[in-house]
């Protein structure tokens, strides 16, 4: 019984292809494509990225227009544009630090917040700190680009304590991920 041999099949295919094409022909076609390249539009993704994002006040959310960069214990601190809950920076922790004894969640919801100083948008990971009773200090509920439950990664009502020892909610941090 003859078994299918992929090596042999591939070799046969390549030999047939090589037989029907010349090195010069290939170079000619490649050169033609290079010359013609500027005529074709670039990839749509690249074109979208090339367009400068609109950072005018008319394009900013109400939160972004009023956000500040000085005090991370206030709800209007720029990174908190989509945070919901108690600020860990008021509970013995910090902007990316859980308070003593709490456990940082390995997963988070995200927000895209505008830094008023450089006018650029950054991705922020809101990581809940878990395993202690709720810290009731500095309660905030911001809503920029916050979505319903069927888009969970942008929903801030969920208790994001997945993967921790206890799902008891303590407070929330706002960890910088990078430019959006």
């Amino acid at each position: 019984m003859k078994l299918f041999n992929p090596d042999a099949a591939a070799e046969k295919l390549l030999r047939r292809f090589a037989g029907g094409t010349s090195r010069r022909g290939m170079l000619a076609r490649l050169g033609g494509a290079l010359v013609a390249a500027p005529v074709f539009p670039l990839l749509p993704v690249s074109r979208a990225g090339a367009a400068k994002p609109d950072r005018s006040p008319e394009a900013k959310t109400a939160f972004a227009r009023k956000a500040q960069t000085v005090d991370d214990t206030k709800c209007d601190y720029w990174r908190y544009c989509a945070i919901d809950g108690a600020l860990c920076s008021c509970c013995g922790g910090g902007i990316h630090t859980c308070p003593p004894g709490a456990e940082s969640s390995p997963v988070s919801w995200v927000g895209t917040c505008m830094n008023p100083e450089d006018g650029k948008a950054y991705m922020i990971a809101y990581r809940d700190c878990c395993g202690k009773p709720m810290c009731t200090q500095c309660m905030c509920d911001n809503q920029d680009r916050e979505t319903p439950l069927y888009v969970p990664q942008l929903n801030n009502n969920i208790i994001w304590c997945f993967g921790t020892q206890s799902m008891e909610y303590h407070c929330s941090t706002a960890v910088m991920v990078g430019p959006a």
């Binding site: 006040p57 959310t61 109400a62 809503q143 979505t147 439950l149 009502n157 969920i158 208790i159 799902m167």
Partner: protein
């Protein structure tokens, strides 16, 4: 003292004397016999009752009679649990998560079943997990025949855990990728999805089958609130988008969604927009809409703001006649309101509550707001459909 005043004085003195005698007689009627302590029972679920949750992180669901504004009992809902009422009115179902040592130890996800009259725990059914969220509508539902409980789960992969209420046993887990919320139908359930479609889950066969409708909204541009209204009996739902578009839908294995209309336009105003700096009346809150099925009126919490204020509390209640597609009443609120629900009888009343745990009953026959009911709970509100 004149004779006239003297007579009046005598009369008054006599009245006080009679009053004292009567009071002492009444005092004698105060029971002084030894008593045996006992425990009350509760009437069966009543369409005139509001079930009011404590706020986030608070346990207990207070039952308030809309006729009197008084509390008649409490369902034992633990923190972040969900409650549903048996369609036959015999049980309260509580889907909850507890740990063996308070906030630590072994996690246990349980469906706790309480007798509707004694409010005593009948049994607990273990199942593999549920979404933990600060009490939100549409994550826990009972099938129309009362035989299955559907529990939304997020790990963060989405699925539904199904408990057989006849056998009082966990039946199975069915994946629900990219979707959330549960609208039970005879064949299974329908859910809202991130691609803007409705997913119908047919559970009537051996293998669960999922089909998706044509998308009808954009989850990124103008999402519909997940706190939508659904009537099991009518098999219809009402969805509201962040900008204020109202979609009415027939719910089934093949859902049909009608073309939306703008709530602002229905009030004679400019429709809502997503653009920054565009200040308008917009819908917002937690449980922000209540639907009276028989009259087909939707009561919506509205506030003034820009887009991305979808959780801002209501400053007015807008009464939308869904059949006529008209806003027929706008009712201003002194307190800012997070949640709203309506009784389903022929004389509907609204219950609204605030983040400070204050509640009010609003009689829709006269649009009069009852007195503030303090410490009633600031969480979600439930009512049952008339039998």
């Amino acid at each position: 003292m004149s004779r006239h005043t003297s007579q009046a004085f005598t009369l008054r003195a006599a009245a006080v004397l009679i009053g004292t005698v009567l009071a002492s007689g009444a005092q004698a009627a105060v029971p002084t016999e030894p008593e045996t302590p006992n425990v009350a029972t509760l009437a069966s679920p009543n369409p005139g009752w509001f079930y009011v949750r404590g706020g986030f992180d608070t346990a207990g669901t207070q039952i308030v009679d809309s006729a009197t504004g008084k509390m008649v009992g409490m369902v034992d809902t633990s923190r972040t649990s969900d409650m549903a009422v048996d369609p036959a009115g015999k049980f309260y179902y509580v889907s909850e998560t507890i740990w063996s040592k308070g906030n630590r130890g072994t996690r246990q996800d349980l469906l706790s079943i309480y007798d509707a009259n004694s409010l005593k725990l009948q049994t607990e059914v273990s199942f593999p997990g549920r979404l933990i969220i600060g009490a939100q509508v549409n994550n826990f539902a009972i099938s129309p025949d009362g035989k299955s409980a559907y529990i939304f789960n997020l790990t963060p992969a989405a699925s539904v855990n199904i408990v057989d209420l006849g056998k009082r046993k966990f039946a199975r887990n069915v994946e629900l990728p990219g979707c959330a919320g549960l609208m039970p139908i005879a064949e299974g359930l329908v859910s809202v999805c991130s691609d803007g479609s409705l997913a119908s889950l047919n559970l009537s066969g051996g293998k669960a089958e999922i089909t998706r409708s044509v998308p009808f909204f954009s989850a990124t541009n103008d999402p519909v609130f997940d706190a939508y209204n659904y009537s099991v009996r009518r098999k219809e739902a009402v969805f509201l988008s962040y900008t204020g578009l109202i979609y009415m839908a027939k719910i089934g294995l093949k859902p049909e969604v009608a073309a939306p209309f703008s709530i602002q336009a229905a009030a004679g105003l400019r429709p809502g927009d997503t653009k920054p700096l565009d200040v308008n009346w917009l819908p917002g809150g937690r449980q922000l809409t209540a639907w009276h099925h028989a009259s087909n009126h939707l009561y919506v919490l509205m506030h003034i703001g820009e887009f991305w204020t979808q959780k801002d509390p209501g400053e007015e209640i807008w009464d939308v006649d869904l059949s006529a597609k008209k806003v027929v009443k706008r009712f201003p609120l002194e307190d800012h309101i997070d949640n709203i629900e309506v009784t389903q009888g022929d004389k509907p009343k609204l219950f609204v509550n605030t983040g400070k745990n204050d509640g009010y009953i609003l009689d829709l026959a006269t649009w009069t707001l009852g007195p503030k009911i303090g410490a009633i709970g600031g969480g979600i509100i439930a009512t049952v459909e008339a039998p």
